[in-house]
Symmetry: C2
Subunit: 403 residues, 2 copies
């Protein structure tokens, strides 16, 4: 169990406290933290923005996912930093600071579940719960070298979680080991063993490999070849155009489909609140929000059909027994204070979200495993399975790693 000092060199904690478990169970003996867009009874939820925190009462109830963890034996040790309105992938919060990337301290941790990942990577907690819409669990897990999972869309209850992008957002978790991630996710999924389907097919998403830096791609290839040898299952390379037809690319999947849907939904949730409450917002968020605000809802409407068409195509591909693999992020964590030019931002966000959009559009469960090292920095290797095949994915990853 991690050691709790009063200081927090991890920079991950917004508030430190102890909520003891309600019962023993599979998580007994494990400490967890909660991203600050998930309710803890009696404490205000900031959603990464001080005005939001000040304008809302403290909830009476814990989010349902928090109660599930307490009832399974987990102990809650604090609330951790979220990027502002969880609308970022970098983890540099003007209001709550930048949590420490334990394995690469001069680099950003990634976001928006920056505090969740940093609390685990720095030993403040064993695991943490967060949320993921455009990569908010997967990206910081990749950049900080911990395990992270975004389950199938809406498999975990969102009761008590701040509204964000209802057609895309999920609750998920990060942990310091596969075993802990597996235990936590199974509690949250509240499932039995799930189907005992054998691993039949390993696909490699070629577009994502090409988007990645050469060094990341090379590291991923080595790891994937190991997995193939270990399991005796051949790797089959497949492109997004082969999956979705019509010359479609991952960039269509991101820029012309998922990102538009996300922006439309963000207008409804946080956008309505901002327009009516004119909160103090950071410069970074202000620029991002200006883009959201300028989306013309009617011009953007046909992106919804595109999302659904891509979903159907991915659904047809991801039959049970199939896992698809790709680097979680195309890069190692950028150095701090380098995402300050439009080109740098566009490069990091554009390439990263072209990869993360695949599971977003597909509503897929995806696990980022801390298997790669490039320039002494961690990068995740991702494994995704079909929609609602979360239990199969958990078992398949274990098998692929020979455990």
């Amino acid at each position: 169990m991690p050691n709790h000092s009063n200081l927090d060199p991890s920079g991950s904690l917004v508030e430190r406290f102890l909520i003891e478990p309600i019962a023993t169970g599979p998580l007994y003996g494990l400490d967890f933290t909660v991203k600050d867009n998930i309710d803890i009874a009696g404490r205000k939820t900031s959603y990464g923005n001080p005005t939001w925190r000040d304008h809302h009462h403290a909830p009476k109830y814990n989010a349902l996912c928090v109660d599930q963890l307490l009832a399974a034996g987990g102990r809650c040790v604090g609330k951790v930093v979220a990027d502002e309105f969880t609308y970022s992938l970098d983890g540099e919060s003007q209001f709550f600071g930048t949590p420490r990337n334990a394995k690469a301290p001069n680099r950003i941790p990634g976001g928006s579940s920056s505090g969740s990942v940093a609390s685990v990577a720095n030993g403040v907690s064993d695991f943490s719960i967060g949320t993921d819409s455009g990569g908010s669990i997967r990206v910081p897990a990749s950049l900080c070298g911990v395990w992270g999972m975004r389950p199938s869309l809406h498999r975990i209850s969102e009761a008590g979680v701040m509204p964000f992008m209802p057609s895309v957002s999920t609750v998920g978790a990060v942990a310091s080991s596969y075993e802990q991630l597996n235990s936590v996710i199974r509690v949250l999924l509240r499932s039995g063993g799930g189907l005992a389907v054998p691993l039949q097919r390993i696909l490699v998403l070629s577009d994502a490999m090409e988007i990645a830096d050469k060094s990341v791609r090379a590291a991923a290839e080595v790891a994937l070849n190991d997995i193939s040898s270990r399991t005796g299952v051949d790797l089959q390379t497949i492109s997004f155009a082969q999956i979705a037809g019509d010359g479609a690319s991952l960039s269509d999947c991101n820029e012309n489909a998922l990102r538009v849907l996300q922006s439309l939904e963000f207008q409804n949730t946080v956008g309505n609140w901002i327009e009516n409450n004119t909160p103090e917002i950071s410069n970074t968020f202000s620029m991002a929000y200006e883009n959201v605000r300028q989306f013309n809802r009617y011009e953007a409407m046909n992106c919804l059909d595109r999302c659904e068409r891509f979903f159907d195509a991915i659904q047809a591909l991801m039959t049970c027994g199939t896992v698809i693999c790709f680097p979680t992020t195309p890069v190692i964590a950028p150095l701090k204070n380098t995402l300050n030019s439009m080109e740098a931002v566009m490069d990091f966000y554009g390439r990263t979200m072209n990869i993360t959009a695949f599971s977003g559009v597909g509503r897929l469960p995806e696990i980022s495993a801390p298997l790669l090292t490039v320039e002494d920095c961690p990068v995740g290797l991702s494994f995704a399975a079909g929609h609602y095949q979360d239990e199969f994915l958990l078992s398949a990853v274990k098998k692929m790693l020979g455990w």
Copy 2:
């Protein structure tokens, strides 16, 4: 197109206005209304409670589902009554009145999408959008004799829809004809044609037939036998115990699973707000809420596992090509002012929700078709298909009715 007078003998409208379509499309020429828990830009959303309305700003954006309808050619003609916090199945609102049950004016319309259904049944609009968690579209559609559909959980965007029970609530629609319902739902699902799977199997859920009044059951049997003759597909009777094993019943599915999950989630959404804002609430809602408030979250936690186990069992049953049928409600609409004893309330809610819980736990799409008449009053016959098989269900129902 319905005739719009200044008066509203339907009692369905909260506010009358016109929002012209943005484009022509499959819904061009059709008028629709919007349940008052779904945002309309520039107008306050009441959620069926005046204090909620007064404590919240008017949204800047329409809910995404409203914009989808406008972009497909629909014209919005007003906001319609919702039961208080949509937490009721009777449609008698202390604050906004009881919309008229057009085919049985001395009887309740059912709720919580009471205004949606009444606006269609009384010719105020061609169709309406509402929400359904425990039957809030299906029940009033059944009791008022219109078409209604609850799609698969989360198939339609909930951006701009008031938070209710995140693991159960869906956006859906009611319409005066199958053709209109089909057009509206396909716009909202934003799907292509969907899979062209033939109808292979018609199941009849025996527990639901037994829960229904004898007269309702008899009418359902006649209609189902007609469907079997027309399609040449035999009816296969199946009980919930055969589906879920362990002697499970629909009452377990409702009382020991779905209803508990609903109560836990309602504590997080509306409950937190009520505890912090002490709104004026009606006597009826006050009694219902007191039950919710008394749920012990930790004692109730194992209901989540039961929900998931039932979901898995239903999922295994509802292979593609399968439709399961049952009366939407066990009764015709109760007479007004008769749900005023605890026994009467328990009988109506208990039996009704034992039936509606099936698709709730199964996350299934369900269509209530106005096919039955008992004592000169309408009752719906329901058809459900597997999770995410919405397009198949729409096609299968058309075929079953010989259209």
